[in-house]
Symmetry: C2
DNA sequence: CAAAATATTTCAAACGTTTGAAATATAACG
DNA sequence: CGTTATATTTCAAACGTTTGAAATATTTTG
């Protein structure tokens, strides 16, 4: 039960009456070490449950074998799903992952970044908070030669950086087109916080789908909200306040927000409620429990986004890709009809 | 952009033409160091963005300042909510947290435990997988003097270990009593996988509430399922198959499962559907979107469970509590009426 | 059997930090 | 001004591992 002397190379060496280097090389299977010696060392190591001290190795190798992830929160299934992709791949290559939540706050994000920098992570994967405008806390990493991959959320200015993003344009295009094919002419677009860049990409996808299919665009059919329910209701009230432009369909930037919208329309007994068809981004597992589910969902494939992010990061860490040879990877969306 | 010589104590010392130890002590605010020297060192450290190498410190201190968490998955809000409590507290004390998912598989859990052991975590918090019967992979930690706190899920045998658990008995009692107060006499209990220990605690809470309130117990009102939808439907069919014991209320072990049940009852147009009142464990954020939500939820306070787990673990790490002085902490549930 | 070739083991320095003991500088005192 | 007291800085070892170079042991060869 007690942990007396920790089992180190030195300890093994003393037991076996040989030098530390022999033990080390035997365990690392050096060809210059005698087979019989190797066997003796390896057996002893196993019996005494020797585990190499990672801190020592990391110090020697000047690496931490830790990858940091900063994301807005873990309650959003998009992010938890994206982690699955990252984790599995990282572990396979001997990396540990430290996950931390910024709660979509800039200050918290800065604090986490500093913490991870101090922990000397070998790389960082980040979905920036919705407040993040200043990137100094992240430039620090590159300054120290630590690669950073921005994922899921696109930094708002045209930052030179490595990105892995969902193809928001394509996703919104798909959704809009689908609704047009179902004979809708008054399709509303409910966008998210303007601070979050993908809002615009999605808007463009929406616009382009309208144009390509000869449906006229009307600003009265566009409104914006954020993650706040009251604001969503206001936006919906606004969308449905123009009698000659009443929406018959709706594309919403995020599913839980869409659910708020649907709930509200239902609660006010909107006359044409049953005819209104909605699509939101997310494909939330919870949809199957709704009485009036959206007609379809834009599946963003977050696992794939995460997987691409970690793969890119590992390539950067291993210098298979130059740090300043900025990559941009887009992951396509898929329409899931319910 | 390039990372030439890394900024180390040695580097600072050379720049400042003083010894490494002076620099180290100045940064650590030793009283023996001259104030003016301290100022010079600290300024230089700031300007050159010196960050102490954690691996070196950890090696010296024989700690990793990393806490491992193993939990079944991140899609269950119970677990993601519990992490919030852990993370914040850990960070406050300078610890990093490595989160990993067992996907409720024993083999995966074993693999993760080995990985964390190799990473020399200073402590482990674990919610065991539903398959875990053998605990050798976890005993290893104690064998090396690394504290382990079992949380959320109770090991199935009467293991000597540190535990932080939700008070499942009390939660189920509360739910059952609430339904009795609402004049229900035929209250069904839908339990979870029998492998997961809390199923029984909840059953006991249910039974005791019935007894204490003079409601007779009937085995026909009890059924078990797991996380599989088909099995839930079978269980519900079973519960509603005894004409002289038709449930008018239902206590379910987990909310998403309860939603499956509700959905099924609604889909078959159960004649008394609107009168049936349900309560599940969880208090899921999505409840507000349901057309026919449960009458109430058992709020398990996972944040508090997580917070208690990390607090206990830190006490064990700091040897404020003896490793073999086993603690058991119960976190009460709360009934939330919708 | 000595010399050369090869196999195997050990030495020693390095990674970056901390810290008690020793050394040196500065101030205070009679 | 020589001592003693105090303030400040430096030395040196340690944490546990890796690895090229050096040392030693063993085998082969003429």
């Amino acid at each position: 039960m007690e942990n007396k002397t920790p089992v180190t190379l030195k300890f093994l060496a003393e037991k076996l009456k040989m030098s530390v280097s022999t033990v080390s090389k035997a365990l690392n299977n050096y060809p210059t070490i005698n087979e019989y010696t190797k066997k003796r060392v390896q057996e002893m190591a196993r019996d005494l449950r020797f585990t190499p001290n990672k801190s020592a190795i990391n110090l020697k190798e000047r690496k931490s074998r830790i990858i940091g992830i900063i994301l807005p929160n873990l309650l959003d299934q998009y992010f938890t799903r994206s982690i699955a992709g990252v984790e599995q791949f990282a572990m396979q290559f001997g990396y540990n992952v430290i996950i931390s939540q910024s709660h979509d706050e800039f200050e918290k994000e800065k604090q986490l970044a500093d913490m991870l920098l101090k922990s000397r992570v070998d790389g960082l994967i980040i979905a920036i908070s919705k407040e993040t405008q200043d990137f100094n806390h992240l430039y620090q990493f590159e300054h120290m030669g630590i690669p950073v991959v921005y994922y899921a959320r696109n930094p708002s200015f045209n930052l030179n950086c490595h990105k892995v993003l969902g193809n928001n344009f394509q996703g919104a295009y798909l959704a809009t087109q689908f609704l047009i094919q179902r004979k809708h002419q008054k399709i509303a677009y409910l966008g998210g916080p303007k601070m979050i860049n993908f809002t615009h990409d999605r808007f463009n996808g929406y616009i382009n789908a309208l144009k390509d299919n000869g449906v006229s665009f009307n600003t009265e059919l566009v409104a914006y909200t954020d993650f706040n329910k009251e604001n969503t209701i206001k936006a919906i009230q606004n969308l449905f306040s123009h009698p000659e432009n009443l929406p018959t369909a709706l594309v919403a930037f995020k599913e839980p927000i869409l659910f708020d919208a649907i709930k509200y329309l239902k609660s006010i007994n909107h006359p044409n409620f049953s005819q209104i068809e909605c699509i939101g981004f997310g494909n939330n597992a919870f949809i199957s429990y709704l009485d009036t589910p959206p007609v379809a969902s834009v599946e963003e494939n977050p696992e794939s986004v995460g997987e691409n992010a970690i793969k890119l990061l590992l390539q950067l860490i291993n210098k298979e890709i130059e740090l300043d040879h900025y990559q941009k990877i887009m992951v396509d969306c898929k329409l899931v009809v319910h």
